[in-house]
Amino acid sequence: MFSEESSGEASNSEEVITATVKSLEDDPLTDAALLKVLVEHIARVDPKDSAIADAVRDIETLAERRAEEPEDGNHD
């Protein structure tokens, strides 16, 4: 799970985000596809101006794709 020390005492913003994303990746409860969208557009120190619109679009696409898939209970 998330390590308080690693992010709290990180020396800069990039390290905080890298450590947090890593802890989320290691968490079996994490929806990896959603985290991928966040890392690509939001959880980064140099987001584009269109970051939010891009993330909304990708999350909607993810939801639509899952709505088409057979329900096996596992998401990518």
């Binding site: 308080e4 959603l34 639509e64």
Partner: protein
């Protein structure tokens, strides 16, 4: 490695008219500077100069970017006399960065001169403003909202990217929540359902929809046909499909619909100007045009490389010419020296071969394009011929063959077409195809109208629309469910990221808070009862995470309260000062400079002493510039701070023709001589130089002067000093030698102790303006007189007179002074 300021020069800026340079170093050692001046003597102009130099907007914050009702604008930075005296207003700073030095001047003007590169370089090392003005201090404590304070502190800690992530996450969560809760798409589909069922069904209920369809659409046709479910797999749907096909064949709709579809496949005219014709005929004509273009290009490229036969020779030759280990001065084929060849050199031969080979590559690409265009046009042609054969047959069957003469003619003309031929003329065939399509559509509509309300075709169409709505609604609902799940997961991930950001901020804020607390207590005199200060971030569950509360624990029953409600004016002032100083100490380590402009106004003597002690204890590594109108504070600074790292200067007066003068200011002889040599009046400078010398010599000789009146406590005028010096010299039996042959008013007045009226005594006629000639003579006389005040033993010009002595002695060798 840190950047420090080595010097500051002002010219035509605020109170400073003539250029003045303040040194802020001794050798390579940076020097801190304390400046004392009574009000309105130009001390804040120094701080203004530093603020302006680093201002990205090219002004002072209190002046604004332009003149307006509440702002004076950048014009107020120029000395009012700058233009008249031909002074170009500017601020110049010199810096040292370890062994490197750099400097740049910034002109002052209303057109916002660009930020100097030197300033930009320094600012890149600065995280927060290093100028603290007393009158601005309280605002961070009292006026800042917790949100603004968070933003400001976040920028000090370079937390801006994390702040953006927090903001973006919040917006994203809000937008995804909105999408997950949105019913817009569902409502649109239900509106279609209402339209189809003529408002009989407003919400989706498949059993109800089936009942409605069976009763309204199928029962009038055949009560035996029924839908059990809205699905293409349903037996009722399959039966309906069969009956609809039978019905089409019976009424002739089947062949008509097929003919319509085939006509469309051959040619459909453009609907409007923006549209293009479509169908195989249009495709064929485009393909013929593309083939023609590809043929032309291939032909052009082929002509360029007509010597393509040499391709292999060129490729082989290029390898030889490029090989650096092969000596080659002559052509390997004809033995011509390369120097004498058209290329002129071996390297040029390689370039030419490369160009030739490139031409060949372009040709090959053109050839490939032509092959592709040929294959494409052939394929489309065959499809078009097949489609036209089918359409001709169907037109004959439908008895439209008399209206299809142009189509048949086109077919006959086109059949022998070969690749490379022009496309056959098609205008008439296209017009005919368009007309026939229209006729077929009209006939289809006519038959449908004759069928009446209840037909299997209409029921089939309605069934398909209902099935489509069912599928859409199902997909919309599943998507919504997925989106809701993603929103929950997004909230979870966002909470974790936010928590990390807040913890990181808390870690840094706690470090800052400890320092603020220490400084606050020190300034408050190490008071153990000083209330603990808290910089508090919101709790984990707080919706708005981007706030920082500045709170104090005032008493046991008043913990975490807002300072302004409990602290006195001076305590709030201290809190703000401690916060700013701590932050600068923590974050501006690359540019360890603090400028303090009148920060002790609201303090008593003890607090002033504490601030001086804090500067000495906590800011030893910093270069500090302090300006104050508080003489007590100035004296305390002198007591507390090391003279090896500090310079202490007083502004004694301000003159409109010059600017502020420091106690140790000396007008250089060269400046006066240069003006006189240029034929300009130097009266003001001469008077200045005389007064400066008089002040020095009176101080050194321990001359007694009359106590100044309270309204002019800091300034002795020239006559006053001259009179006092004359009295002293007379009393001590020290008579200055006369200047032979010159009747010098200055010297005699000095000896007599008469107060002079400057600007009239240069002339015999007091009502006549002085001339340059008078001034030159006067300057020679003054220097002659001044030069008599020199130690006869060591030649030094500084003196002292301990109270036990009647006569002064040399400050260096202590030889008694005599003329």
């Amino acid at each position: 490695m840190a950047i420090t300021i080595e010097a500051l020069k002002l010219e035509g800026f605020r109170a400073y008219l003539q250029p003045q340079t303040l040194s802020l170093c001794r050798g390579t050692t940076p020097l801190s500077l304390a400046i004392f001046a009574p009000n309105a003597k130009g001390k804040s102009s120094l701080v203004d100069a530093i603020e302006y130099y680093f201002s990205t907007e090219g002004t002072l914050s209190r002046l604004g970017k332009r003149q307006a009702q509440t702002h004076a604008g950048p014009l107020a930075m120029e000395h009012v006399g700058a233009q008249e005296h031909g002074v170009i207003p500017a601020v110049h700073l010199w810096f040292r960065d370890d062994a490197d030095k750099f400097d740049e001047a910034r002109a002052v003007g209303t057109s916002a001169p660009p930020l100097p590169a030197a300033a930009r370089l320094v600012l890149s090392s600065v995280k927060l403003p290093f100028i603290i003005r007393g009158y601005e201090l309280r605002s961070f404590v009292e006026d800042n909202t917790p949100e603004n304070r968070y933003k400001e502190i976040a920028s000090w800690f370079a937390l801006d990217p994390l702040l953006t992530i927090q903001q973006n996450l919040r917006t994203l969560r809000r937008q995804i929540k909105k999408k997950a809760e949105s019913n817009t798409k569902e409502t649109e589909r239900l509106r279609d359902l209402k339209l189809i069922t003529t408002n009989a069904i407003t919400a989706w209920d498949e059993a109800k929809v089936c009942r409605w369809f069976n009763t309204t659409m199928l029962a009038p046709l055949d009560e035996q046909v029924e839908f059990a479910a809205l699905s293409t797999e349903d037996a009722g749907f399959r039966e309906l499909t069969n009956r609809k096909s039978d019905e089409d064949e019976q009424v002739g709709l089947g062949p008509l619909k097929r003919l319509g579809a085939h006509l469309k496949a051959v040619f459909t005219d453009a609907k409007d100007h923006d549209d293009e014709p479509s169908g195989l005929l249009a495709d064929f004509e485009k393909a013929v045009a593309s083939h023609e273009a590809a043929t032309r290009r291939e032909s052009e490229e082929r002509s360029k490389v007509s010597k393509a036969v040499f391709n292999d020779v060129w490729a082989a030759a290029k390898k030889i010419f490029e090989a650096t280990d092969v000596e080659l001065d002559t052509c390997p084929v004809c033995d011509t020296p390369l120097k004498l060849s058209p290329a002129g050199a071996r390297a040029n031969v390689v370039l030419r071969l490369e160009a030739k080979l490139n031409d060949l590559e372009t040709y090959r690409e053109a050839e490939r394009q032509l092959t592709r265009a040929t294959t494409s046009v052939q394929g489309i042609f065959h499809k078009l011929m097949d489609a036209l054969e089918t359409v001709s047959a169907e037109l004959k069957e439908a008895r439209y063959d008399k209206k299809a003469k142009a189509i048949v003619h086109y077919l006959d003309t086109a059949k022998p077409w070969n690749v490379g031929n022009a496309a056959p003329e098609s205008q008439e065939a296209m017009a005919e195809l368009t007309e026939l399509l229209s006729l077929v559509s009209e006939e289809t509509d006519r038959i449908v109208r004759l069928q009446g309300e209840h037909t299997y075709a209409k029921a089939f169409e309605t069934a398909n629309r209902l099935i489509e709505i069912k599928l859409h609604l199902s997909r919309i609902r599943r998507t919504k469910t997925e989106l809701q799940a993603l929103h929950e997961e997004l909230n979870r991930q966002a909470r974790i990221i936010n928590k990390a950001v807040v913890e990181h901020a808390q870690y840094l804020v706690t470090k800052l808070q400890k320092d603020v607390d220490s400084l606050y207590k020190e300034i408050q005199g190490g008071n153990v009862n000083a209330p603990p200060i808290r910089l508090e971030l919101p709790g984990e569950d707080d919706v708005n995470q981007q706030r920082i509360q500045l709170l104090i624990d005032f008493a046991k029953n008043r913990k975490g309260v807002v300072p302004s409600g409990y602290l006195s004016d001076s305590q709030i002032h201290t809190l703000a000062l401690a916060l700013r100083l701590s932050a600068i100490r923590m974050f501006n380590d690359r540019f360890p400079v603090v400028v303090l402009d009148d920060v002790v106004t609201s303090y008593d003597a003890d607090h002033r002493k504490n601030i001086a002690a804090v500067l000495a204890k906590y800011f030893e590594e910093f270069q500090i510039i302090v300006v104050t109108h508080d003489e007590l504070f100035f004296n305390l600074l002198q007591d507390h701070l090391s003279s090896s790292r500090w310079a202490f200067r007083r502004i004694t007066k301000i003159e409109s023709e010059f600017g502020p003068s420091f106690h140790d200011h000396r007008t250089p002889d060269e400046a006066i001589q240069a003006k006189l040599d240029a034929g300009q009046s130097a009266a003001a400078e001469m008077r200045q130089a005389e007064e400066e010398w008089l002040l020095d010599i009176c101080r050194g000789f321990g001359v007694k002067v009359v106590m100044r009146p309270v309204d002019r406590p800091y300034q002795f005028d020239r006559g006053e000093l001259a009179g006092a010096l004359a009295s002293f010299l007379k009393g001590a039996g020290l008579l200055p030698p006369e200047v032979p042959g010159i009747s010098n008013t200055f010297l005699s007045s000095l000896q007599k102790g008469v107060i002079e009226n400057f600007a009239s005594h240069f002339s015999d006629n007091p009502f006549k303006a002085s001339s340059i000639g008078d001034e030159k003579a006067r300057w020679v006389e003054f220097r002659y007189f001044r030069d008599q005040f020199v130690c006869g033993s060591c030649g030094k010009r500084r003196f002292k007179r301990p109270s036990s002595l009647k006569k002064p002695v040399c400050a260096k060798c202590e030889t008694p002074f005599s003329f």
